[in-house]
């Protein structure tokens, strides 16, 4: 599979919905419908500007019944590598972008008797399509949604109006706090928990669920991990006998793409497994969620979208 970038799109609406989050709607330039998608799906948005190119994954937040329009919500990341800043400062109605086909790493488990959704901040985004699905299937769910204050709770008003009984909001600045242990301690048999939010929240839910003996198969998480910067290094491609420089701010995948080396990818956050690449030599700094501990130890493969190398010696089987 090659890079799934196939849709030229045009922004039809931009709305600042919280101090940090903008809500974008777009349609295809050719006027054709988009692919349908399942709840929890994301798309990768491709951006090009003077400072280089960015490809960032964003959850789809619009109605999955509207095939003419996709919607995403983007949080401005001050310390990010520039993608969200580009979306916030350079994208307006009429801007043209390229997006990939939807892909789902965070699906709803339809066999669950109850869906317990836990969102932190912009982690609300994948649950927008979940709640549409709950509406359609009359699913049994609860959403527990924590933000720093009321003004940062994107989509909260809309959700509360639709489901006043099933949605609880928590704010850091006042009122009761989300008590994960108390919440998970008292859930009926057949519940699945889904968490999307900052790393601290995701880790806490996974830890508590495990401690309270939830089976692994009933625990689901999504954390869009943005690649972190690292020391620059040179990668040698064994088969094509090329050397490629990877700068401090670039990921290995981005450097390879810039050099026209095509690698399949989807999430660009170390979760989906598409970009798994064979390693000939090198002490890999694994940062992904995809490879098993054994695979990581073997040193024979890596995820170039997010992982780097310790030291300066990396040879890939490309």
């Amino acid at each position: 599979m090659t890079a799934p970038f196939s849709n030229r799109v045009k922004i039809t609406s931009v709305e600042q919905i919280t101090p940090l989050i903008k809500h974008f709607k777009f349609e295809r330039i050719d006027g054709e419908p988009f692919l349908p998608y399942s709840s929890g799906s994301h798309v990768v948005v491709s951006m090009k500007n003077d400072s280089g190119s960015h490809k960032n994954p964003y959850s789809l937040v619009g109605s999955s019944n509207n095939f003419m329009q996709y919607q995403i919500a983007v949080r401005l990341e001050d310390n990010g590598r520039g993608g969200s800043k580009f979306m916030h400062t350079q994208v307006e109605v009429g801007t043209e972008l390229e997006i990939g086909n939807p892909y789902n790493l965070f699906p709803v488990y339809k066999i669950a008797r109850k869906h317990l959704l836990i969102a932190g901040g912009v982690g609300i985004t994948p649950f927008m399509t979940y709640i549409d699905e709950m509406d359609m299937t009359k699913g049994n769910f609860e959403l527990h949604y924590a933000t720093r204050d009321k003004s940062h709770a994107a989509f909260a008003q809309n959700l509360l109006e639709r489901h006043p009984e099933s949605i609880k909001l928590y704010h850091d600045d006042h009122g009761p706090k989300l008590d994960i242990e108390a919440l998970l301690n008292d859930q009926p048999l057949g519940t699945h928990v889904y968490v999307c939010g900052p790393k601290g929240m995701v880790d806490a839910v996974l830890k508590v669920a495990d401690k309270l003996c939830w089976p692994e198969t009933s625990i689901h998480s999504e954390e869009f991990k943005a690649p972190e910067t690292g020391k620059p290094f040179t990668v040698r491609l064994h088969k094509s006998q090329r050397d490629i420089e990877v700068t401090e701010k670039e990921t290995l995948l981005e450097a390879l793409e810039k050099a026209d080396v095509e690698i399949p990818y989807s999430c660009r956050g170390g979760a989906c497994g598409f970009c798994k690449t064979d390693v000939v030599e090198g002490d890999i700094d694994h940062r992904d969620y995809f490879l098993t501990d054994e695979e990581k130890k073997s040193g024979k493969c890596m995820m170039p979208c997010i992982s780097r190398v310790n030291g300066d010696n990396l040879v890939l089987d490309l």
């Binding site: 048999l189 057949g190 003996c213 089976p215």
Partner: protein, 206 residues
């Protein structure tokens, strides 16, 4: 295909039973047995002291006389965990409500005939439990439930490789394809290709 050939074919859906072991990653244990399966639960509790601490109830379908030693084990002076049912059907009818009142962290330990343990497993699955949350041990009859795809009924208590369907009277051969959804093996017409050509029937699943 003859029945003997099946021995050499790897049928992935055929249940494989592993020894019953206490799952240390559990908060509560619900023990369920019919008839002589109750002995399996006693063994399980004897093997693991932690089991007794988590056990909430023992649901047992059968009579006192059948398993008096095992019954005493669960009804001593300290505690009475036993919840006894006269028939399997009354136990199976009561179970959904028990599970509906239960919380995440429960594990089931199910002992009894093959037909019984899979009926219980189906109720557990319907309650949203997955296979890591319930544990099955076959003690007792291997008599099969056999689904007839021709008339869509399930034949109970089949002990032979070939039998006459109680619904449509066709002779069915039952194979090792097992449906967890129906808790039954698949049967199909034995003389479908050449009507009237019948292999000899053997008793295999007592």
């Amino acid at each position: 295909m003859t029945v003997e050939d099946e021995e050499y074919i790897d049928i992935k859906s055929k249940p494989i039973y592993v020894p019953l072991e206490f799952d240390p990653k559990s908060r509560w244990s619900l023990l369920i047995a019919e008839s002589e399966g109750l002995r399996g639960l006693v063994d399980l509790c004897n093997d693991s002291s932690a089991m007794e601490a988590t056990a909430t109830s023992v649901m047992y379908a059968g009579t006192d006389a059948e398993q008096s030693d095992a019954l005493t084990f669960f009804t001593n002076d300290q505690c009475n965990l036993l919840n006894q049912f006269e028939t399997q059907d009354s136990l199976l009818a009561a179970l959904p409500q028990v599970l509906a009142n239960s919380k995440m962290g429960l594990r089931l330990y199910i002992c009894g005939s093959e037909a019984f343990i899979w009926k219980v497993a189906k109720i557990a699955r319907d309650a949203g439990m997955n296979k890591s949350e319930y544990n099955l041990k076959l003690i007792g009859s291997k008599a099969r439930r056999v689904y007839c795809p021709h008339c869509e009924i399930i034949n109970e208590g089949v002990t032979t490789d070939i039998h006459e369907c109680q619904g449509c009277n066709l002779s069915l051969v039952n194979c090792n394809h097992f449906s967890r959804e129906m808790s039954a093996y698949l049967g199909y017409r034995v003389d479908a290709e050449v009507h009237g050509e019948m292999p000899e029937r053997q008793e295999l699943y007592k």
